[in-house]
Protein backbone atom coordinates (compact mmCIF):
# COMPACT_ATOMS: atom_id res chain seq x y z
CA UNK A 1 0.00 0.00 0.00
CA UNK A 2 2.66 2.44 1.03
CA UNK A 3 4.63 1.79 -2.13
CA UNK A 4 1.78 1.72 -4.65
CA UNK A 5 -0.13 4.88 -3.72
CA UNK A 6 0.84 7.65 -6.13
CA UNK A 7 1.17 11.05 -4.44
CA UNK A 8 -1.73 13.23 -5.61
CA UNK A 9 0.44 16.05 -7.05
CA UNK A 10 2.03 13.52 -9.42
CA UNK A 11 -1.24 12.10 -10.71
CA UNK A 12 -2.44 14.97 -12.88
CA UNK A 13 0.85 15.70 -14.70
CA UNK A 14 1.43 11.96 -15.16
CA UNK A 15 -2.04 11.58 -16.69
CA UNK A 16 -1.39 14.58 -18.95
CA UNK A 17 1.91 13.03 -20.03
CA UNK A 18 0.15 9.78 -20.92
CA UNK A 19 -2.51 11.67 -22.88
CA UNK A 20 0.14 13.68 -24.70
CA UNK A 21 2.08 10.60 -25.75
CA UNK A 22 -0.80 8.23 -26.47
CA UNK A 23 -3.51 10.47 -27.98
CA UNK A 24 -1.67 11.13 -31.28
CA UNK A 25 -1.33 7.37 -31.72
CA UNK A 26 -5.03 6.94 -30.90
CA UNK A 27 -5.76 9.65 -33.48
CA UNK A 28 -4.06 7.50 -36.07
CA UNK A 29 -6.38 4.62 -35.19
CA UNK A 30 -9.49 6.81 -35.23
CA UNK A 31 -8.72 8.31 -38.63
CA UNK A 32 -7.65 5.09 -40.31
CA UNK A 33 -9.80 4.46 -43.39
CA UNK A 34 -10.58 0.89 -42.38
CA UNK A 35 -12.79 0.21 -45.43
CA UNK A 36 -9.92 0.97 -47.81
CA UNK A 37 -7.34 -0.80 -45.68
CA UNK A 38 -6.99 -3.83 -47.93
CA UNK A 39 -6.55 -1.82 -51.11
CA UNK A 40 -4.07 0.59 -49.58
CA UNK A 41 -2.01 -2.15 -47.94
CA UNK A 42 -1.70 -4.20 -51.09
CA UNK A 43 -0.76 -1.14 -53.16
CA UNK A 44 2.50 -1.64 -55.05
CA UNK A 45 5.53 -0.73 -53.01
CA UNK A 46 4.06 -1.09 -49.52
CA UNK A 47 5.26 -4.66 -48.93
CA UNK A 48 8.56 -3.78 -50.58
CA UNK A 49 9.09 -0.80 -48.29
CA UNK A 50 8.14 -2.77 -45.18
CA UNK A 51 10.47 -5.64 -46.09
CA UNK A 52 13.32 -3.24 -46.78
CA UNK A 53 12.68 -1.48 -43.46
CA UNK A 54 12.75 -4.74 -41.49
CA UNK A 55 15.85 -6.07 -43.25
CA UNK A 56 17.85 -2.84 -43.04
CA UNK A 57 16.93 -2.19 -39.39
CA UNK A 58 17.96 -5.75 -38.51
CA UNK A 59 21.28 -5.43 -40.35
CA UNK A 60 21.91 -2.05 -38.71
CA UNK A 61 21.25 -3.66 -35.31
CA UNK A 62 23.62 -6.54 -36.08
CA UNK A 63 26.39 -4.12 -37.05
CA UNK A 64 25.67 -2.07 -33.93
CA UNK A 65 25.97 -5.13 -31.68
CA UNK A 66 29.21 -6.33 -33.27
CA UNK A 67 30.85 -2.90 -33.06
CA UNK A 68 28.92 -1.29 -30.21
CA UNK A 69 29.38 -3.91 -27.47
CA UNK A 70 33.20 -3.69 -27.64
CA UNK A 71 32.91 0.10 -27.65
CA UNK A 72 30.68 -0.02 -24.57
CA UNK A 73 33.28 -2.24 -22.85
CA UNK A 74 35.99 0.30 -23.63
CA UNK A 75 33.84 3.11 -22.20
CA UNK A 76 32.89 1.18 -19.05
CA UNK A 77 35.99 -0.86 -18.22
CA UNK A 78 39.15 0.50 -19.80
CA UNK A 79 41.33 2.96 -17.95
CA UNK A 80 42.18 4.90 -21.09
CA UNK A 81 42.31 8.65 -20.72
CA UNK A 82 39.78 10.81 -22.54
CA UNK A 83 36.93 8.37 -22.00
CA UNK A 84 34.56 11.18 -21.03
CA UNK A 85 35.26 12.93 -24.32
CA UNK A 86 34.91 9.66 -26.20
CA UNK A 87 31.57 8.97 -24.53
CA UNK A 88 30.30 12.44 -25.46
CA UNK A 89 31.45 11.94 -29.06
CA UNK A 90 29.79 8.57 -29.59
CA UNK A 91 26.47 9.88 -28.30
CA UNK A 92 26.46 12.95 -30.56
CA UNK A 93 24.37 11.17 -33.24
CA UNK A 94 21.65 10.87 -30.56
CA UNK A 95 21.09 14.61 -30.53
CA UNK A 96 22.28 15.55 -34.01
CA UNK A 97 19.49 16.38 -36.45
CA UNK A 98 19.42 13.27 -38.66
CA UNK A 99 19.64 15.36 -41.84
CA UNK A 100 22.96 16.72 -40.58
CA UNK A 101 24.04 13.12 -40.06
CA UNK A 102 23.15 12.39 -43.68
CA UNK A 103 25.20 15.33 -44.94
CA UNK A 104 28.12 14.28 -42.74
CA UNK A 105 27.95 10.76 -44.18
CA UNK A 106 28.09 12.25 -47.69
CA UNK A 107 31.22 14.19 -46.79
CA UNK A 108 32.98 11.01 -45.68
CA UNK A 109 31.43 8.17 -47.67
CA UNK A 110 29.96 10.01 -50.66
CA UNK A 111 31.73 9.57 -53.95
CA UNK A 112 33.37 12.98 -53.43
CA UNK A 113 33.94 12.13 -49.76
CA UNK A 114 37.22 11.53 -47.96
CA UNK A 115 36.85 7.75 -47.80
CA UNK A 116 34.24 7.43 -50.52
CA UNK A 117 36.35 8.93 -53.31
CA UNK A 118 39.25 6.60 -52.46
CA UNK A 119 36.83 3.64 -52.43
CA UNK A 120 35.39 4.66 -55.79
CA UNK A 121 38.85 5.06 -57.34
CA UNK A 122 40.28 1.77 -56.09
CA UNK A 123 37.28 -0.56 -56.22
CA UNK A 124 34.69 1.25 -58.30
CA UNK A 125 32.22 0.91 -55.43
CA UNK A 126 30.06 3.89 -54.53
CA UNK A 127 27.91 3.78 -51.42
CA UNK A 128 25.20 6.49 -51.69
CA UNK A 129 21.84 5.48 -53.17
CA UNK A 130 22.30 1.80 -52.25
CA UNK A 131 20.70 -0.41 -49.62
CA UNK A 132 24.10 -0.45 -47.90
CA UNK A 133 23.76 3.32 -47.54
CA UNK A 134 20.42 2.80 -45.77
CA UNK A 135 22.04 0.38 -43.32
CA UNK A 136 24.95 2.78 -42.74
CA UNK A 137 22.63 5.74 -42.13
CA UNK A 138 20.50 3.71 -39.71
CA UNK A 139 23.56 2.33 -37.91
CA UNK A 140 24.99 5.84 -37.51
CA UNK A 141 21.82 7.10 -35.88
CA UNK A 142 20.87 4.00 -33.86
CA UNK A 143 24.16 2.58 -32.53
CA UNK A 144 24.51 5.10 -29.66
CA UNK A 145 21.30 3.70 -28.13
CA UNK A 146 22.92 0.28 -27.91
CA UNK A 147 26.25 1.61 -26.64
CA UNK A 148 24.59 3.56 -23.85
CA UNK A 149 22.43 0.61 -22.77
CA UNK A 150 25.35 -1.83 -22.71
CA UNK A 151 27.65 0.61 -20.98
CA UNK A 152 25.02 1.11 -18.27
CA UNK A 153 24.68 -2.65 -17.86
CA UNK A 154 28.45 -3.08 -17.62
CA UNK A 155 28.71 -0.42 -14.93
CA UNK A 156 25.90 -2.04 -12.97
CA UNK A 157 27.39 -5.55 -13.30
CA UNK A 158 29.39 -6.89 -10.39
CA UNK A 159 33.05 -6.77 -11.38
CA UNK A 160 33.95 -9.33 -8.68
CA UNK A 161 32.81 -12.16 -10.96
CA UNK A 162 35.36 -11.01 -13.51
CA UNK A 163 38.03 -10.74 -10.83
CA UNK A 164 37.22 -14.26 -9.67
CA UNK A 165 37.50 -15.57 -13.24
CA UNK A 166 40.87 -13.86 -13.57
CA UNK A 167 42.20 -15.38 -10.33
CA UNK A 168 41.10 -18.78 -11.61
CA UNK A 169 43.38 -18.33 -14.61
CA UNK A 170 41.01 -17.13 -17.32
CA UNK A 171 42.58 -14.65 -19.70
CA UNK A 172 40.82 -11.36 -20.41
CA UNK A 173 39.19 -12.47 -23.62
CA UNK A 174 37.85 -15.66 -22.01
CA UNK A 175 36.60 -13.63 -19.05
CA UNK A 176 34.80 -11.28 -21.40
CA UNK A 177 33.20 -14.11 -23.37
CA UNK A 178 32.34 -16.49 -20.52
CA UNK A 179 31.61 -14.12 -17.64
CA UNK A 180 31.03 -10.49 -18.64
CA UNK A 181 28.91 -11.09 -21.71
CA UNK A 182 26.40 -13.49 -20.06
CA UNK A 183 26.22 -11.07 -17.13
CA UNK A 184 25.17 -8.13 -19.31
CA UNK A 185 23.14 -10.12 -21.86
CA UNK A 186 19.82 -8.56 -20.80
CA UNK A 187 21.36 -5.11 -21.21
CA UNK A 188 22.63 -6.02 -24.67
CA UNK A 189 19.18 -7.33 -25.62
CA UNK A 190 17.48 -4.18 -24.33
CA UNK A 191 19.96 -2.01 -26.20
CA UNK A 192 19.50 -4.04 -29.37
CA UNK A 193 15.73 -3.60 -29.26
CA UNK A 194 16.03 0.16 -28.74
CA UNK A 195 18.58 0.30 -31.55
CA UNK A 196 16.33 -1.71 -33.87
CA UNK A 197 13.29 0.46 -33.13
CA UNK A 198 15.28 3.63 -33.76
CA UNK A 199 16.67 2.22 -37.00
CA UNK A 200 13.18 1.24 -38.12
CA UNK A 201 11.97 4.82 -37.70
CA UNK A 202 15.03 6.49 -39.24
CA UNK A 203 14.12 9.12 -41.83
CA UNK A 204 16.37 12.15 -42.13
CA UNK A 205 19.79 10.58 -42.54
CA UNK A 206 18.35 7.92 -44.84
CA UNK A 207 16.57 10.25 -47.27
CA UNK A 208 19.64 12.49 -47.36
CA UNK A 209 22.43 9.94 -47.72
CA UNK A 210 20.68 6.95 -49.31
CA UNK A 211 18.08 8.84 -51.34
CA UNK A 212 14.68 7.42 -52.12
CA UNK A 213 14.14 4.64 -54.61
CA UNK A 214 11.45 1.98 -54.29
CA UNK A 215 12.92 -1.45 -53.58
CA UNK A 216 16.46 -0.18 -52.99
CA UNK A 217 16.37 2.64 -50.49
CA UNK A 218 12.72 3.54 -49.87
CA UNK A 219 12.02 2.43 -46.30
CA UNK A 220 8.63 2.76 -44.61
CA UNK A 221 9.22 6.22 -43.10
CA UNK A 222 10.18 7.53 -46.55
CA UNK A 223 7.14 5.85 -48.10
CA UNK A 224 4.94 7.48 -45.45
CA UNK A 225 6.40 10.92 -46.14
CA UNK A 226 5.91 10.64 -49.90
CA UNK A 227 2.45 9.12 -49.58
CA UNK A 228 1.47 12.16 -47.52
CA UNK A 229 2.27 14.32 -50.56
CA UNK A 230 -0.25 12.55 -52.77
CA UNK A 231 -2.66 10.53 -50.69
CA UNK A 232 -2.94 11.32 -46.96
CA UNK A 233 -5.20 8.29 -46.46
CA UNK A 234 -2.47 5.98 -47.70
CA UNK A 235 0.01 7.74 -45.42
CA UNK A 236 -2.23 7.05 -42.42
CA UNK A 237 -2.39 3.36 -43.29
CA UNK A 238 1.38 3.10 -43.75
CA UNK A 239 1.92 4.91 -40.45
CA UNK A 240 -0.43 2.46 -38.76
CA UNK A 241 1.54 -0.51 -40.11
CA UNK A 242 4.80 0.96 -38.87
CA UNK A 243 3.26 1.70 -35.48
CA UNK A 244 1.90 -1.85 -35.12
CA UNK A 245 5.21 -3.44 -36.12
CA UNK A 246 7.09 -1.28 -33.60
CA UNK A 247 4.68 -1.84 -30.72
CA UNK A 248 4.41 -5.58 -31.40
CA UNK A 249 8.17 -5.97 -31.45
CA UNK A 250 8.71 -3.97 -28.29
CA UNK A 251 6.01 -5.91 -26.43
CA UNK A 252 7.12 -9.31 -27.70
CA UNK A 253 10.78 -8.80 -26.91
CA UNK A 254 10.08 -7.22 -23.57
CA UNK A 255 8.07 -10.24 -22.42
CA UNK A 256 10.27 -12.85 -23.97
CA UNK A 257 13.82 -11.75 -23.19
CA UNK A 258 14.13 -8.49 -21.47
CA UNK A 259 12.17 -8.89 -18.28
CA UNK A 260 14.08 -7.27 -15.47
CA UNK A 261 16.95 -6.39 -17.74
CA UNK A 262 14.81 -3.85 -19.53
CA UNK A 263 13.88 -2.26 -16.25
CA UNK A 264 17.46 -2.14 -14.98
Amino acid sequence: MRRSRTPAPLLVPAALAVAFLVLPLAGLLVRTPWSQLGTLLTAPGVGQALRLSLVSATLATAVSVVLGVPLAWVLARSQARGRAVLRALVTVPLVLPPVVGGVALFLVLGRQGIVGSWLADTTGITIPFTTAAVVIAETFVAMPFLVISVEGALRAADARFEDAAATLGADRWTTFRRVTLPLVAPGVAAGAVLCWARALGEFGATITFAGNFPGTTQTMPLAVYLALQRDPQAAIVLSLVLLLVSVATLLLLRDRWLGRGAAA
Binding site: F106, G110, R111, Q112, T126, P128, F129, I207, T208, A210, G211, N212, F213, P214, T216, T217, Q218, L222, Y225, L226, A227, L228, Q229, R230, P232
Partner: protein, 260 residues
Protein backbone atom coordinates in the same frame (compact mmCIF):
# COMPACT_ATOMS: atom_id res chain seq x y z
CA UNK B 1 23.86 25.14 -47.99
CA UNK B 2 24.81 28.62 -49.14
CA UNK B 3 21.25 29.23 -50.25
CA UNK B 4 19.90 28.18 -46.88
CA UNK B 5 22.22 30.63 -45.23
CA UNK B 6 21.13 33.33 -47.65
CA UNK B 7 17.47 32.72 -46.93
CA UNK B 8 18.10 32.74 -43.18
CA UNK B 9 20.00 35.97 -43.53
CA UNK B 10 17.19 37.44 -45.58
CA UNK B 11 14.62 36.42 -42.98
CA UNK B 12 16.69 37.85 -40.16
CA UNK B 13 17.35 41.04 -42.09
CA UNK B 14 13.68 41.30 -42.98
CA UNK B 15 12.72 40.98 -39.33
CA UNK B 16 15.21 43.56 -38.14
CA UNK B 17 14.32 45.95 -40.94
CA UNK B 18 10.72 45.69 -39.85
CA UNK B 19 11.52 46.13 -36.16
CA UNK B 20 13.45 49.28 -36.96
CA UNK B 21 10.52 50.60 -38.94
CA UNK B 22 12.85 51.07 -41.88
CA UNK B 23 12.30 49.24 -45.13
CA UNK B 24 15.04 47.86 -47.34
CA UNK B 25 13.95 48.89 -50.82
CA UNK B 26 10.81 50.83 -51.44
CA UNK B 27 9.51 51.21 -54.97
CA UNK B 28 6.52 52.66 -56.71
CA UNK B 29 4.76 49.41 -57.54
CA UNK B 30 5.21 47.86 -54.13
CA UNK B 31 4.36 50.64 -51.72
CA UNK B 32 0.70 49.57 -51.51
CA UNK B 33 -0.06 52.99 -50.08
CA UNK B 34 2.21 52.32 -47.10
CA UNK B 35 -0.74 51.53 -44.89
CA UNK B 36 -0.46 47.75 -44.56
CA UNK B 37 0.06 46.46 -41.04
CA UNK B 38 0.40 43.21 -39.17
CA UNK B 39 1.75 39.95 -40.51
CA UNK B 40 1.36 38.55 -44.00
CA UNK B 41 1.82 34.79 -44.25
CA UNK B 42 2.68 33.41 -47.67
CA UNK B 43 2.77 29.67 -48.39
CA UNK B 44 4.92 29.25 -51.48
CA UNK B 45 6.53 26.45 -53.47
CA UNK B 46 10.20 25.90 -52.57
CA UNK B 47 11.25 26.85 -56.10
CA UNK B 48 9.99 30.41 -55.43
CA UNK B 49 12.23 30.84 -52.37
CA UNK B 50 14.61 33.47 -53.71
CA UNK B 51 12.17 35.57 -55.76
CA UNK B 52 9.43 35.64 -53.16
CA UNK B 53 11.81 36.46 -50.33
CA UNK B 54 12.96 39.40 -52.43
CA UNK B 55 9.40 40.52 -53.27
CA UNK B 56 8.39 40.17 -49.62
CA UNK B 57 11.19 42.52 -48.61
CA UNK B 58 10.08 45.03 -51.23
CA UNK B 59 6.54 44.97 -49.87
CA UNK B 60 7.86 45.43 -46.34
CA UNK B 61 9.99 48.31 -47.61
CA UNK B 62 6.87 50.21 -48.66
CA UNK B 63 4.93 49.23 -45.56
CA UNK B 64 7.03 49.68 -42.43
CA UNK B 65 4.38 48.18 -40.16
CA UNK B 66 4.06 45.00 -42.19
CA UNK B 67 5.93 41.74 -41.57
CA UNK B 68 5.97 39.21 -44.38
CA UNK B 69 6.67 35.63 -43.38
CA UNK B 70 7.07 32.67 -45.68
CA UNK B 71 6.41 28.98 -45.40
CA UNK B 72 8.54 27.60 -48.24
CA UNK B 73 8.21 23.88 -48.94
CA UNK B 74 7.08 21.41 -51.57
CA UNK B 75 3.69 22.44 -52.97
CA UNK B 76 2.17 19.12 -51.97
CA UNK B 77 3.27 19.50 -48.37
CA UNK B 78 1.92 23.07 -48.32
CA UNK B 79 -1.43 21.99 -49.77
CA UNK B 80 -1.66 19.30 -47.08
CA UNK B 81 -0.87 21.83 -44.36
CA UNK B 82 -3.52 24.23 -45.68
CA UNK B 83 -6.22 21.56 -45.84
CA UNK B 84 -5.26 20.58 -42.27
CA UNK B 85 -6.04 24.12 -41.16
CA UNK B 86 -2.74 25.99 -41.26
CA UNK B 87 -3.49 29.74 -41.24
CA UNK B 88 -2.18 31.63 -44.28
CA UNK B 89 -2.96 34.62 -46.49
CA UNK B 90 -1.53 33.60 -49.86
CA UNK B 91 -0.78 30.25 -51.49
CA UNK B 92 1.52 29.96 -54.52
CA UNK B 93 1.77 26.45 -55.97
CA UNK B 94 4.29 24.97 -58.40
CA UNK B 95 1.54 23.20 -60.30
CA UNK B 96 -2.18 23.19 -60.91
CA UNK B 97 -2.79 19.84 -59.21
CA UNK B 98 -1.80 21.07 -55.75
CA UNK B 99 -3.73 24.32 -56.25
CA UNK B 100 -6.75 22.14 -57.10
CA UNK B 101 -6.37 20.42 -53.74
CA UNK B 102 -6.74 23.80 -52.04
CA UNK B 103 -9.54 25.19 -54.24
CA UNK B 104 -11.31 21.81 -54.03
CA UNK B 105 -11.38 22.15 -50.25
CA UNK B 106 -13.07 25.54 -50.64
CA UNK B 107 -10.11 27.40 -49.14
CA UNK B 108 -9.33 29.82 -52.00
CA UNK B 109 -10.77 33.31 -52.25
CA UNK B 110 -11.94 33.48 -55.86
CA UNK B 111 -10.16 31.84 -58.78
CA UNK B 112 -6.38 31.30 -58.74
CA UNK B 113 -4.25 33.22 -61.24
CA UNK B 114 -1.40 31.65 -63.17
CA UNK B 115 1.42 34.12 -62.52
CA UNK B 116 4.49 32.44 -63.98
CA UNK B 117 5.83 29.25 -65.51
CA UNK B 118 8.86 27.04 -65.25
CA UNK B 119 10.42 24.38 -67.44
CA UNK B 120 12.58 21.47 -66.47
CA UNK B 121 16.28 21.51 -67.15
CA UNK B 122 19.10 19.08 -66.50
CA UNK B 123 21.42 20.17 -63.71
CA UNK B 124 24.95 18.77 -63.74
CA UNK B 125 27.90 19.45 -61.39
CA UNK B 126 30.28 22.21 -62.55
CA UNK B 127 32.35 20.97 -65.48
CA UNK B 128 29.79 18.28 -66.32
CA UNK B 129 32.19 15.42 -65.48
CA UNK B 130 29.91 12.71 -66.90
CA UNK B 131 29.40 14.57 -70.20
CA UNK B 132 25.62 14.68 -69.98
CA UNK B 133 24.15 16.18 -73.16
CA UNK B 134 20.45 15.51 -72.99
CA UNK B 135 17.48 13.60 -71.72
CA UNK B 136 18.69 10.33 -73.31
CA UNK B 137 21.52 10.21 -70.75
CA UNK B 138 18.92 9.49 -68.07
CA UNK B 139 18.59 6.03 -69.58
CA UNK B 140 22.30 5.26 -69.01
CA UNK B 141 22.72 2.63 -66.33
CA UNK B 142 26.28 3.62 -65.41
CA UNK B 143 25.41 7.19 -64.42
CA UNK B 144 24.19 8.20 -60.98
CA UNK B 145 20.97 10.12 -61.57
CA UNK B 146 18.36 11.90 -59.51
CA UNK B 147 14.80 12.82 -60.41
CA UNK B 148 11.96 14.11 -58.25
CA UNK B 149 9.53 11.57 -56.81
CA UNK B 150 6.34 11.28 -58.89
CA UNK B 151 4.35 12.43 -55.84
CA UNK B 152 5.73 15.98 -56.04
CA UNK B 153 5.17 18.49 -58.88
CA UNK B 154 8.66 18.41 -60.39
CA UNK B 155 8.44 14.61 -60.45
CA UNK B 156 5.05 14.66 -62.13
CA UNK B 157 6.42 17.06 -64.75
CA UNK B 158 9.50 14.86 -65.19
CA UNK B 159 7.34 11.82 -65.88
CA UNK B 160 5.54 13.77 -68.62
CA UNK B 161 8.80 14.95 -70.16
CA UNK B 162 10.29 11.44 -70.20
CA UNK B 163 7.11 10.05 -71.69
CA UNK B 164 7.06 12.73 -74.40
CA UNK B 165 10.72 12.06 -75.20
CA UNK B 166 10.32 8.29 -75.19
CA UNK B 167 13.11 7.89 -72.63
CA UNK B 168 12.88 5.28 -69.87
CA UNK B 169 14.77 6.93 -67.00
CA UNK B 170 17.01 4.85 -64.71
CA UNK B 171 17.30 7.13 -61.69
CA UNK B 172 19.15 6.07 -58.54
CA UNK B 173 16.96 8.19 -56.33
CA UNK B 174 13.57 9.89 -56.43
CA UNK B 175 14.00 12.98 -54.31
CA UNK B 176 11.32 14.37 -52.02
CA UNK B 177 11.53 17.86 -53.50
CA UNK B 178 13.35 19.68 -56.24
CA UNK B 179 15.83 21.38 -53.91
CA UNK B 180 16.86 18.02 -52.46
CA UNK B 181 17.63 16.82 -56.00
CA UNK B 182 19.60 20.00 -56.62
CA UNK B 183 21.60 19.56 -53.41
CA UNK B 184 22.80 16.17 -54.61
CA UNK B 185 24.09 17.83 -57.79
CA UNK B 186 25.77 20.59 -55.76
CA UNK B 187 27.54 17.91 -53.71
CA UNK B 188 28.45 16.19 -57.03
CA UNK B 189 27.00 12.96 -55.64
CA UNK B 190 24.90 12.52 -58.77
CA UNK B 191 25.96 13.04 -62.39
CA UNK B 192 22.72 14.77 -63.30
CA UNK B 193 19.30 15.64 -61.94
CA UNK B 194 16.18 16.84 -63.68
CA UNK B 195 15.18 20.07 -61.92
CA UNK B 196 13.61 23.41 -62.83
CA UNK B 197 15.52 25.89 -64.95
CA UNK B 198 15.18 28.34 -62.05
CA UNK B 199 16.95 25.99 -59.67
CA UNK B 200 19.95 25.90 -61.98
CA UNK B 201 20.05 29.71 -61.88
CA UNK B 202 19.67 29.76 -58.11
CA UNK B 203 22.46 27.20 -57.55
CA UNK B 204 25.13 29.54 -58.93
CA UNK B 205 28.56 28.27 -59.99
CA UNK B 206 28.41 24.80 -58.47
CA UNK B 207 25.84 23.69 -61.02
CA UNK B 208 25.52 23.93 -64.80
CA UNK B 209 22.36 23.60 -66.85
CA UNK B 210 21.79 21.44 -69.90
CA UNK B 211 18.71 22.57 -71.83
CA UNK B 212 15.99 20.02 -72.50
CA UNK B 213 14.16 20.85 -75.76
CA UNK B 214 11.55 18.16 -74.99
CA UNK B 215 10.60 20.06 -71.81
CA UNK B 216 9.19 22.98 -73.81
CA UNK B 217 6.01 20.94 -74.27
CA UNK B 218 5.60 20.37 -70.54
CA UNK B 219 5.64 23.91 -69.17
CA UNK B 220 4.75 23.96 -65.50
CA UNK B 221 2.26 26.70 -64.64
CA UNK B 222 2.38 28.37 -61.22
CA UNK B 223 -0.99 29.53 -59.89
CA UNK B 224 -1.47 31.66 -56.82
CA UNK B 225 -4.50 32.77 -54.83
CA UNK B 226 -5.46 34.61 -51.71
CA UNK B 227 -7.10 32.40 -49.12
CA UNK B 228 -10.69 32.80 -48.00
CA UNK B 229 -9.74 32.65 -44.33
CA UNK B 230 -6.80 35.04 -44.72
CA UNK B 231 -6.13 36.86 -41.43
CA UNK B 232 -4.71 39.80 -43.41
CA UNK B 233 -6.69 40.05 -46.68
CA UNK B 234 -5.47 43.58 -47.62
CA UNK B 235 -1.84 42.55 -47.42
CA UNK B 236 -2.64 39.32 -49.26
CA UNK B 237 -4.17 41.32 -52.12
CA UNK B 238 -1.19 43.69 -52.19
CA UNK B 239 1.28 40.81 -52.37
CA UNK B 240 -0.61 39.14 -55.23
CA UNK B 241 -0.77 42.50 -57.05
CA UNK B 242 2.98 42.92 -56.59
CA UNK B 243 3.68 39.45 -58.01
CA UNK B 244 1.47 40.19 -61.04
CA UNK B 245 2.88 43.68 -61.57
CA UNK B 246 5.62 44.43 -64.08
CA UNK B 247 8.07 44.69 -61.20
CA UNK B 248 7.15 41.23 -59.93
CA UNK B 249 7.25 39.69 -63.38
CA UNK B 250 10.71 41.15 -64.01
CA UNK B 251 11.99 39.66 -60.76
CA UNK B 252 10.60 36.27 -61.77
CA UNK B 253 12.18 36.50 -65.20
CA UNK B 254 15.55 37.37 -63.71
CA UNK B 255 15.32 34.20 -61.62
CA UNK B 256 14.80 32.06 -64.70
CA UNK B 257 11.01 31.88 -64.72
CA UNK B 258 9.10 32.66 -67.87
CA UNK B 259 5.90 34.54 -68.62
CA UNK B 260 2.77 32.42 -68.14
Amino acid sequence: MRKVAAVLAAVVLGATACGGGEGAAASSASDGGGGLTGTLTVFAAASLTDVFTDLGQRLEGGNPDLTVQFNLAGSSALATQLTQGAPADVFASANGAQMDVVTGAGLADGDPTVFTANVLQIAVPAGNPAGVTGLADFGREELTLAVCAPEVPCGAAAEDVFAAAGVTPRPDTQEEDVRAALTKVELAEVDAALVYATDVVAAGDAVEGVPVPEAEDVVNDYPLCTLAAAPNPEAARAFVDLVLSEEGQQALEAAGFRAP
